[in-house]
C-alpha cells in the first residue's frame, strides 16, 4: 500500500530453542508481504543488519533464566512501544521451567562437566514476571497463522483475533473424533487454549497442552476423569508438567498430584 512509515519490528531471544522465531522465517509465502509493510530492524536469525531502536514492536522469545537476562529484558521493554511475547518459554517459562520444581544445583552437577561456570537463576520465569507485556502469543512453537494474524492486526490497528477457548472447539470444527471419548486416551484439549487446529487428536493422540491453559480451565475436573482412565497420580502430574508446566493452572494441577 506504500505506507509512509514502516513500523520497526525487532525479534529478541532469551532462553529458548529458536523454534518460535523460526516460525517467522517459516512464513515463506507471506514473508515478502511482511517486509513490504514493516521494517525488520533486529532479527539475528534472519539478518545481521541491526537498526537502532526504539522499536514499534518487539517480539520476545524465551524465558528469563539468568540475572543478565533479567536486566536485558528491561532495556528491551524501554525501547519497545509494543512488546509481544511469543511461545511457551516467553509466556510460561517453557520446558526449562521444570527446574522450578526441583533444585537447579542438582541439575547443574549432573548435566555439566564444570558446573562452576554455570551462572543461572533458580527458576525459569515468563517475561510477564519481569516487565509489562502487551500481548501473549502462545504455543510450542507458536502458530504461523496466529503470528501473521498478530502482525496484520497490529498493522490495521485492531485487536488480534486469537480466541482463548478450548482446543476441543477446533477439534470438533475439523471433524476429528474425540480421542478421550472414543479410546480413553488422556487429552489436555479441554483445558488448553486453541491455536494448533487440534493437531494431536487428528493423529489419534491426546493434546499435550502446547498452547497453555485456556480461559477458565477446570483442571480439577479433567484430573478426575484422568483418574477414571486409571492414570496414576504421577502420570497425571506429568501430564500437566510439559511445555507450560509453570503456567499457573497447570502448575497447580501438577502440584496437586505431587506424591
Amino acid at each position: 500500500m506504500g505506507r509512509k512509515y514502516k513500523p520497526k519490528l525487532a525479534v529478541w531471544k532469551f532462553a529458548s530453542c529458536d523454534g518460535c522465531q523460526l516460525t517467522l522465517l517459516d512464513c515463506e509465502d507471506e514473508l515478502l508481504a511482511v517486509t513490504d509493510e514493516i521494517q525488520i530492524a533486529n532479527f539475528p536469525e534472519a539478518s545481521r543488519a541491526i537498526v537502532k531502536g526504539p522499536y514499534d514492536v518487539s517480539l520476545v522469545e524465551g524465558s528469563i533464566t539468568t540475572s543478565h537476562d533479567a536486566e536485558r529484558i528491561h532495556k528491551i521493554r524501554r525501547s519497545s512501544k509494543v512488546l509481544v511475547v511469543i511461545g511457551a518459554c516467553a509466556t510460561a517459562g517453557g520446558i526449562q521451567a521444570l527446574r522450578n520444581f526441583a533444585n537447579v544445583e542438582d541439575y547443574k552437577s549432573i548435566v555439566y562437566a564444570s558446573p562452576e561456570y554455570i551462572d543461572t537463576l533458580s527458576k525459569s520465569t515468563p517475561i510477564a514476571d519481569h516487565v509489562f507485556v502487551d500481548f501473549e502469543l502462545r504455543g510450542c512453537p507458536i502458530s504461523k497463522s496466529q503470528l501473521i494474524e498478530l502482525v496484520t492486526a497490529y498493522l490495521s490497528g485492531r485487536k488480534p483475533n486469537i480466541p482463548p477457548h478450548s482446543v476441543c472447539i477446533e477439534c470438533k470444527r475439523r471433524g476429528t473424533v474425540c480421542v478421550m471419548v472414543s479410546t480413553g486416551i488422556p487429552c489436555l484439549g479441554p483445558v488448553t487454549q486453541a491455536g494448533c487446529r487440534a493437531l494431536c487428536p487428528s493423529y489419534n493422540r491426546g493434546c499435550y497442552g502446547c498452547f497453555g491453559p485456556k480461559e477458565t480451565p477446570n483442571t480439577d475436573s479433567l484430573s478426575v476423569q484422568f483418574k477414571k482412565f486409571n492414570m496414576s497420580r504421577d502420570a497425571i502430574k506429568r501430564a500437566f508438567r510439559g511445555f507450560n508446566a509453570y503456567a499457573e493452572p497447570f502448575r497447580k494441577a501438577s502440584e496437586a498430584h505431587e506424591k
Binding site: 485492531r158 480466541p163 474425540c178 479441554p190
Partner: protein
C-alpha cells in the same frame, strides 16, 4: 396410506448407484478414527457393516455385532448439521479498489446431496434448525440452499444407544415425516432386507424407478417389532413435564454449581448437538490491508467471549454458562421457537469428555433442592 416395499440387502448398492447416477453426492455412515462418521460414500462397502456402538457418559466404543447390519450403530459424534450449517464458511471478501472497495459475497453453488442413514431424532433436529435458520424472520440463505438440495433417506432405529432418549422427547425411534424414504433394517430367518416407506414425491419416484417388490404383512410386523425393541431399550429418559417452568423457577438451584464443578466449559456438547446453531463471525485482513475476508464459524455459549458485550462478558462463571446451555436447550428454546431445543440424541452426554448428562442434571434439579 404409505407404500411399503422391500429392498433386499444385496440391492442396497442399487440404491446408492441410483442416487449417484441421479447426480447426488451420497453422504452416509462410515468408519473413521474408531467411530461412525458421516462422509461421502461410494458403495455399500463403505458402510459400517457389522459394527455397533456402545455409548455412555463420556464414552464411545465400537464393537463387532452378531449381525451384519449396515445400520446397527446408533449415532456418532457428527450430525448432518456439518453439511447444512458447516463448521466454517466464508461469507464474503472485500477488496480495495482505488479509493473505494468491492464486496464479493461468497457465492455458493448448490450441491445435490443424499443423506443416507438419517435417524429419526436427526430428522427432528433438522426440523428444529429449519425453524431457527429458515422459517423465522431471518433466513440463512446458505442453510436454505443446502437444505433444499438435500434428500433424506432415513433409517429407523432397531437398537437404542446407551445415551438415547428420543422416546422422552417424542422424536423417535420411528420417523413419521420429514424424509423422502424411510428404511427399517430387518435381519431374520427371511433374510437381510429393508422395509421401504416413501415419504415424498421424490421418494415415491425413487421407489417406483427401483422397481421394488411389495412388503408382506410379516415384513411390516417385523419392522414394527424391531422399532418397538429400540423404544423399550432407551439408555436414558428425561421427564419433560413442565420442564420450562421447572428450569425458570430454579435459577438458584445448588445443582448448577455442582454441574459447574465438573464442567470443563470445553464446548464439546454444543459442537456435537444437532440443533445448536450458534456461530461467530471473524473478519480477517491480509497484510497489505487491501483485502479482507469474513468467515462464519461454529461458536458456543461455553466460551467467555460468547456473551461479551460492551464492558465485558456476561457469563464469566462456568455455572452461568452451563445453566445457559441447558436452559436454552430445554426451556428458552420453547419460547423462542415453539419447540424443544433437544431431540434426545444423547450426543452431548456421550461426547462430553467428563460425561455430564443433561437427563441426570434435569432430574437432580427436579428432585433435589
Amino acid at each position: 396410506m404409505a407404500v411399503n416395499k422391500i429392498l433386499p440387502r444385496d440391492d442396497f448398492q442399487r440404491l446408492i448407484s441410483f442416487l449417484r447416477t441421479d447426480g447426488y453426492q451420497v453422504i452416509g455412515p462410515t468408519l473413521r478414527q474408531g467411530a461412525v462418521v458421516y462422509e461421502e460414500i461410494q458403495s455399500t462397502s463403505d458402510l459400517p457393516e457389522g459394527w455397533i456402538d456402545l455409548q455412555d457418559g463420556g464414552s464411545y466404543r465400537l464393537e463387532r455385532s452378531e449381525t451384519s447390519a449396515f445400520f446397527g450403530y446408533v449415532v456418532g459424534p457428527q450430525s448432518w448439521k456439518q453439511f447444512l450449517c458447516p463448521p466454517q464458511r466464508k461469507l464474503l471478501t472485500a477488496e480495495q479498489t482505488g479509493k473505494s472497495f468491492n464486496v464479493i459475497v461468497y457465492d455458493e453453488k448448490p450441491i445435490k446431496r443424499a443423506f443416507v442413514g438419517v435417524r429419526p431424532c436427526e430428522i427432528a433436529a433438522m426440523a428444529v434448525q429449519d425453524k431457527v435458520l429458515m422459517e423465522g424472520p431471518f433466513v440463512d440463505p446458505s442453510y436454505r440452499l443446502a437444505r433444499q438440495n438435500a434428500i433424506i433417506i432415513a433409517v429407523n432405529c432397531a437398537r437404542a444407544g446407551g445415551t438415547c432418549f428420543c422416546v422422552s422427547m417424542g422424536t423417535g425411534p420411528k420417523a413419521s415425516s420429514g424424509f423422502d424414504i424411510a428404511l427399517t433394517e430387518l435381519i431374520d430367518q427371511h433374510g437381510h432386507r429393508f422395509l421401504v416407506e416413501a415419504g415424498s414425491e421424490i421418494g415415491i419416484g425413487m421407489v417406483t424407478k427401483l422397481a421394488l417388490g411389495d412388503a408382506s404383512e410379516s415384513d411390516i410386523e417385523a419392522g414394527e417389532k424391531a422399532i418397538a425393541n429400540a423404544s423399550a431399550n432407551m439408555g436414558r429418559t428425561l421427564d419433560t413435564s413442565g420442564i420450562k417452568e421447572l428450569l425458570y423457577t430454579n435459577f438458584d438451584h445448588g445443582r448448577w454449581n455442582d454441574a459447574a464443578s465438573r464442567c470443563l466449559s470445553c464446548a464439546n456438547c454444543t459442537m456435537v448437538c444437532p440443533t445448536c446453531f450458534c456461530a461467530t463471525v471473524d473478519e480477517a485482513t491480509d497484510l497489505s490491508g487491501k483485502c479482507a475476508e469474513r468467515w462464519r464459524k461454529w461458536d458456543s455459549c461455553f466460551t467467555v467471549g460468547f456473551s461479551y458485550i460492551h464492558g465485558g462478558s456476561i457469563r464469566t462463571s462456568g455455572m452461568s454458562r452451563y445453566r445457559q446451555w441447558m436452559t436454552h436447550k430445554l426451556a428458552y428454546w420453547q419460547d423462542q421457537f415453539g419447540t424443544s431445543g433437544c431431540v434426545g440424541c444423547g450426543r452431548c452426554i456421550t461426547w462430553c469428555p467428563v460425561g455430564i448428562d443433561i437427563t441426570e442434571e434435569a432430574r437432580a434439579i427436579r428432585h433435589t433442592r
